[in-house]
Amino acid sequence: MVDPVAEKVIATLASVKRIPAETITLETNLQEMGIDSLDVFSLLFELENAFKISIPDDDVRSIKTVNDIVEGVKKLLAAAPPDTSVGSASPAN
């Protein structure tokens, strides 16, 4: 995997679901892998901390695959400087 954003999203997802990152691809459907709404919220929280972005509620509803998340994160990174409300803390561990 060469795309650092995709790599980070997949690593975060793997950590939330406690599964190996190798089992996840960009095409993986979140619902099919047993991700429920609480898992999505946890995932978004970790991604917001990791990328220092703020993901709007409206963007969340259209997420279906891992790639949807990766594209959404990239759009937010391109559109705005890092979200200062995240503070000076280090990215989520």
């Binding site: 939330v16 406690r18 929280f45 917001e48 901390n49 503070g87 803390a89």
Partner: protein
């Protein structure tokens, strides 16, 4: 028509072990689970609490798959694991009909403290602009009951009672009446607590009720309580149903008494606890002379133990000298809203096995405490009935009465 209600399943996670057998062995040996506080770094704020009765070796990943462990605060994890064990122990077949008729009544004093404290630390210490999205559903006191319902597919009446240190006894008292009166066919009931966070420990420290070394209930040199954590769940079902399916019956739950002191936030009265004990006896149809064992509230504080002893004397008169009275908090610590459930397990096993667990760490008789506290060594005694006391801050008293297995 009121039904007799029996206990047919037990599940427990405490400082004494991760299952019923380990807990009972420690209780019989008078072995304390109290040790140096681990995993809580209070050095930054000068935390003085040094010893605690912590659950050790509990691995959430062994019990929850696919990241579900992160959906539950530690207290809710204890709730679910204890409930699963209790259902398994009961051997009951949960048919779709029975699942709809199964009540869940849980006690917890403070709910998911680790979750809320981590959230506040993110906000105010780490300077983050957001807290974890599961902070609310992990913190809510009913998370234990809710997760038991979801995990086991039980869809009858389910709720949590929060009355500080009496929570689990209030919960079991309610569950008893629900099954007795036919509002449900079966109940999963008990309590769970896990609150070893820096903030909570500092708050307890400020109350000046924590012992610097260990917990010595009723002993003259007692210096306070030792905080504990854990969870225990019991299966209540009607006697007839248990007999019909050939279930192992641990004991009968036969009475419940509850009162308020209406007096003081932290200072107990003699009358409030005495009336709760009398109420439990009355509902059970027991005479004071029927009681052979009392699992005392017995926190090990200077304030509780003499007052509880006088309350027992007031209810039982001369018979009080013939009752074995022990505080198992000397071994599993004071687990707040789970305390009554841990102690119910100890009490019903005492009735079933004919062994009364001791008051550990007892060194010296106190003239203010003049009962038989079963010091340090368990005692073989087949008693026919027992009480288990819980008295909460805020003056809320809850006492449960148990009878040895009906023959």
């Amino acid at each position: 028509m009121a039904r007799r209600v029996v206990i047919t399943g037990l599940g427990i996670v405490s400082a004494l072990g991760l299952d019923v057998a380990e807990n009972w062995k420690a209780l019989c040996e008078g072995r304390s689970g109290i040790g140096p506080l681990q995993g809580v770094d209070g050095s930054r704020v000068g935390l003085k609490v040094q010893n605690a009765a912590q659950v050790r070796g509990f691995d959430p990943l062994k019990h929850f798959e696919g990241g579900k462990d992160a959906h539950l605060d530690r207290f809710a994890q204890f709730s679910v694991v204890a409930a699963r064990d209790a259902v398994r122990d009961s051997g009951i077949a949960l048919t779709p009909e029975l699942r709809e008729e199964c009540a869940i009544v849980c006690g917890s004093a403070v709910g998911g403290q680790s979750a809320i404290e981590a959230g506040f630390e993110d906000l105010w210490v780490n300077g983050r602009g957001r807290v974890h999205p599961l902070t609310i559903p992990k913190t809510m006191a009913n998370a234990g009951a809710s997760h038991i319902a979801m995990d086991l597919g039980l869809s009858g009446p389910a709720y949590t009672i929060s009355t500080a240190c009496s929570s689990a006894n209030h919960a079991m008292g309610q569950a008893f009446r629900i099954v007795r009166d036919g509002l449900a066919q079966i109940a999963v009931t008990g309590g769970a607590e896990a609150f070893f966070t820096v903030g909570m420990l500092k708050a307890w420290e400020a109350m000046r009720v924590i012992s610097p070394d260990t917990c010595r209930p009723f002993s003259k040199d007692r210096k306070g309580m030792i905080l504990g954590e854990g969870g225990a769940m019991l299966i209540f079902e009607p006697l007839e149903a248990a007999k019909a399916r050939g279930a192992r019956i641990y004991a009968e739950i036969c009475g419940f008494g509850m009162t308020a002191d209406a007096h003081h936030l932290t200072q107990p009265t003699v009358e409030g606890p005495a009336r709760a004990m009398s109420g439990a006896l009355r509902e059970a149809g027991l005479a004071p002379e029927d009681i052979g064992y009392i699992n005392a509230h017995g926190t090990g504080t200077p304030g509780n133990d003499p007052v509880e002893s006088r309350a027992i004397r007031k209810v039982f008169g001369a018979h009080a000298d013939k009752i074995g009275v022990s505080s198992t908090k000397s071994m599993h610590g004071h687990a707040l809203g789970a305390a009554g459930a841990l102690e119910a397990v100890a009490t019903v096993l005492a009735l079933r096995n004919g062994i009364l667990p001791p008051t550990a760490n007892f060194t010296e008789r106190d003239p203010e405490c003049d009962l038989d506290y079963i010091p340090n060594q368990s005692r073989e005694a087949q008693v026919s009935a027992a009480l288990s006391n819980s008295f909460a801050f805020g003056g809320l008293n809850a006492v449960v009465a148990f009878r040895a297995t009906p023959r």
